[in-house]
């Protein structure tokens, strides 16, 4: 009989290929070297992207997962390689991003001896993963990775970490890959209860001012069409969360805006005037609800949600419909009466006009000298492709880009929502671009955040991924400065930055780069960037002390949303 045994490291690679991974992100090191050695023979089947830091690798995997709908994969070595993944794991956990992270570990006989580059990554990552495991035998590698992919992508997605000892990578075993389809203790889906649909439909049919909020659950559940069909029949105005953006075209006549601290005026304020509130695939984050004690108290809440733990967690609901929203929305659409709520919709439009007059005009068509972040986004909208992907970091630029970017397609919004991870954007944009070089990927980032992961410019250079980096530079940690201005008596404690010459840096990395300081140059520069074929770095020097409005200050109610 022919010996079919291969090294555990090759089993890792073959299992990744079998799980349909095509691009993976990583960084080599001692304890993962056997896997890297095996990768060398599989370059035709598995594209590996060498980032400049493990945090870059995991954020890239996140960006890749968000736009592709596939499981993002990243690889790191033991010890510091593994600990550098932690921020990305926490980010993917709170934003429900499917990831499989593979870390090397010291040989099993060295476990617990404080060996070189040994760290208890399984213990460290436990609260930040949907599941994790340490593998110490070659025969356990394929089943663990198969199980990891199943867990990462099913139900409410999340990150998985698989820690593989070096001896398991070097030992020989047959390749025994079998896809994992069922785990006895894990039931990721829940069949929708028809009684719940009936109760929800009754509430909706009786409602006079119904209002729908949707989140990333629509994207993750691929329920974009079902959402639209429900809205078209019910006539209910709908607003989105940060991560729900793009799930419904903003041109839809029932789209009424964005929720949360820096969302829209009407969509926040009228939450406290609806009589039935339908929440779909969202988790009532505190940035969305403001003060919970004064949140939608007048409304009967219907919550369509897959994760049982999210139901009644923050907001008590009158009817909960547990299950995949693709299924529940479809059933609900069949069960309700067709309606229109024109007078109610008009309330949104009136308040929207107030926001336009007081905020949007100044943001998009400013008359003051300094450039605004808003006008940069306005020009991006003018020249971008319809299906362009917007990747943002965290802070003022994130909120402004989110507010004004013209979302037309699903999976075009990539940002760090729940965790608020500065430094996310640049590597995530690279990851998003690695999924499809033909898509336009626009990375809008601030001068603070970009310096947290600026080394990934090197990865973009090496891959020639045609990412368009738009640096909105106000020489401040702008969002923190805004809070200092509003709530800390303008005591600008450690928020002003003495920045490097970003253009020189971009230049050193071989980017085509330009810097805009004057309004009359802005439009042409944005156009040039978006028409350029390769990677491009555009720095726009914006007004130093601009603020983002509307705003619901911490501890305030949604109806206390401020326009200035």
């Amino acid at each position: 009989m022919k010996d079919t045994k291969i090294r555990g490291a090759e089993i890792v690679v073959k299992t990744l290929v079998a799980e349909n991974a095509s691009v993976i992100f990583g960084y080599p090191g001692g304890a993962i070297m056997p896997v890297y050695d095996a990768l060398y023979d599989y370059c035709d089947q598995l594209e590996h992207v060498l980032t400049r830091h493990e945090q870059g690798a995991i954020h890239a995997a996140q960006g890749y997962a968000r736009v592709s709908g596939k499981v993002g994969v990243c690889i790191a070595t033991s010890g510091p390689g593994a600990t550098n993944l932690i921020t990305g794991l926490a980010d993917a956990m709170i934003d429900s991003t499917p990831l499989v992270c593979i870390t090397g570990q010291v040989a099993s006989h060295l476990l617990g001896t404080d060996a070189f580059q040994e760290t208890d990554v399984v213990g460290l990552s436990m609260p930040g993963t949907k599941w994790n495991i340490q593998v110490r035998k070659p025969e356990d590698i394929a089943p663990a990775i198969a199980k990891g992919f199943h867990i990462a992508r099913s139900g409410r997605p999340g990150p998985v970490l698989i820690d593989i000892t070096k001896d398991a990578q070097t030992a020989l075993h047959e390749f025994n890959y079998v896809p994992c389809l069922n785990i006895r203790s894990y039931k990721p889906y829940h069949k929708v209860n028809p009684e719940d649909i009936k109760s929800a439909a009754e509430l909706i049919d009786q409602a006079e001012r119904p209002y729908l909020l949707f989140g990333q659950g629509i994207v993750l559940g691929q329920a974009e069409k079902e959402l639209k069909a429900f809205l078209d029949k019910s006539g209910i105005p709908a607003a989105c969360t940060l991560l729900g953006s793009g799930a419904l075209s903003q041109e839809h006549p029932l789209y009424v805006g964005k929720l949360g601290m820096h969302g829209n005026y009407a969509s926040n304020l009228l939450t406290n005037q609806c009589d039935v509130l339908i929440a779909v695939g969202m988790r009532f984050d505190d940035r969305v609800t403001g003060d919970l004690k004064r949140y939608a108290k007048q409304a009967k809440v219907i919550h369509l949600e897959l994760d049982a733990a999210e139901i009644n967690k923050n907001v008590r609901c009158a009817v909960s419909v547990q299950g995949d929203c693709k299924e529940s929305l479809q059933l609900l659409t069949e069960s309700i009466q067709p309606k229109k709520h024109l007078a109610w919709l008009e309330r949104f439009r009136e308040l929207e006009q107030m926001e336009k007059n007081e905020v949007v005009g100044n943001d998009l068509l400013p008359t003051k000298l300094g450039l605004t972040m808003g006008e940069v986004i306005r020009y991006i909208n003018e020249f971008k492709a319809d299906d362009a992907i917007l990747v943002t970091d965290v802070g003022q630029h994130q909120m402004i880009a989110w507010r004004y970017f013209d979302y037309k397609n699903t999976r075009t919004q990539v940002t760090s929502g729940g965790l608020g991870t500065m430094g996310f954007a640049l590597p995530a944009a690279l990851g998003a671009q690695m999924h499809d070089y033909k898509k336009q990927v626009i990375c809008v980032v601030g001068d603070g955040g970009i310096q947290m992961t600026i080394q990934e410019l090197g990865t973009i250079m090496q891959t020639q991924a045609p990412v368009k980096v738009v640096l909105l530079n106000n020489n401040y940690l702008g969002m923190v400065r805004q809070w200092q201005q509003m709530f800390f008596e303008k005591r600008y404690s450690f928020t002003e930055l003495n920045n490097p010459d970003f253009i020189k840096i971009a230049d050193a990395y071989g980017f085509k780069a330009s810097k805009v300081t004057l309004r009359q140059e802005l439009r042409d520069s944005v156009a040039e960037m978006l028409m350029h074929n390769g990677p491009y770095f555009l720095e726009v020097v914006v007004e130093k002390e601009d603020n983002v409005f509307p705003m619901i200050a911490t501890g305030c109610s949604v109806e206390e949303v401020r326009l200035s």
Binding site: V122, G123, M126, P127, K130, W131, N132, I133, Q134, I151, I183, R184, S185, Y186, D307, A308, A309, N312, K313
Partner: protein
């Protein structure tokens, strides 16, 4: 605030206890008692946790526990819904053996389960209130050591685990 017993049925994987306890730690909830043992089904473990908290919180805890991949099912009960027991051991110096102690042992229906040259060990099973009451009395007998187990409990409702094992 109410005392709840949470029964968690799990697969036997390394680290499962850690995954379970961090759910409590993260929310700042003190675990009053914890025991782990096998269950009726081969390979399935049951972990019994006693906490004092609100109903809202215990519901959330149970849901979070069920999100753990290797947790099959978690149930929560108030004290009336479970038959529960704890075991306590009391180490008493031999000098304290006197008729008064005999009376106490009889009163509590406790047992002497070991006798050494310098001490005896008394055992009592019961609810925490019972074992605590005995402890208070034995303090007068110069008790040397005291140890009490966590709660073991079986549920009164007749729901079984089988339907969650498909």
């Amino acid at each position: 605030m109410t005392r709840y017993t949470i029964s968690v049925f799990t697969e036997n994987f390394i680290g499962i206890l850690n995954r379970i306890t961090i759910i409590f730690t993260r929310r700042g909830i003190n675990i009053d008692g914890l025991t782990a043992s096998e269950s009726r089904e081969d390979g399935i473990y049951r972990i019994t946790i006693v906490v004092t908290t609100s109903e809202e919180q215990v519901i959330q805890l149970t849901k979070q526990l069920e999100k753990i991949i290797d947790v099959i099912k978690a149930f929560y009960y108030v004290d009336d819904q479970v038959v529960h027991q704890e075991i306590a051991l009391y180490k008493i110096p031999i000098q304290s053996l006197n008729p008064g102690l005999e009376k106490v042992i009889r009163q509590f229906n406790a047992h002497i389960i070991a006798a050494e040259q310098e001490f005896v060990v008394i055992e009592l099973s019961g609810h925490k209130e019972d074992t605590q009451a005995l402890l208070e009395i034995l303090k007068e007998f110069n008790i040397l050591e005291f140890a009490r187990s966590g709660r073991v409990a079986v549920a009164k409702p007749m729901e079984t685990l089988e339907k969650y094992l498909k």
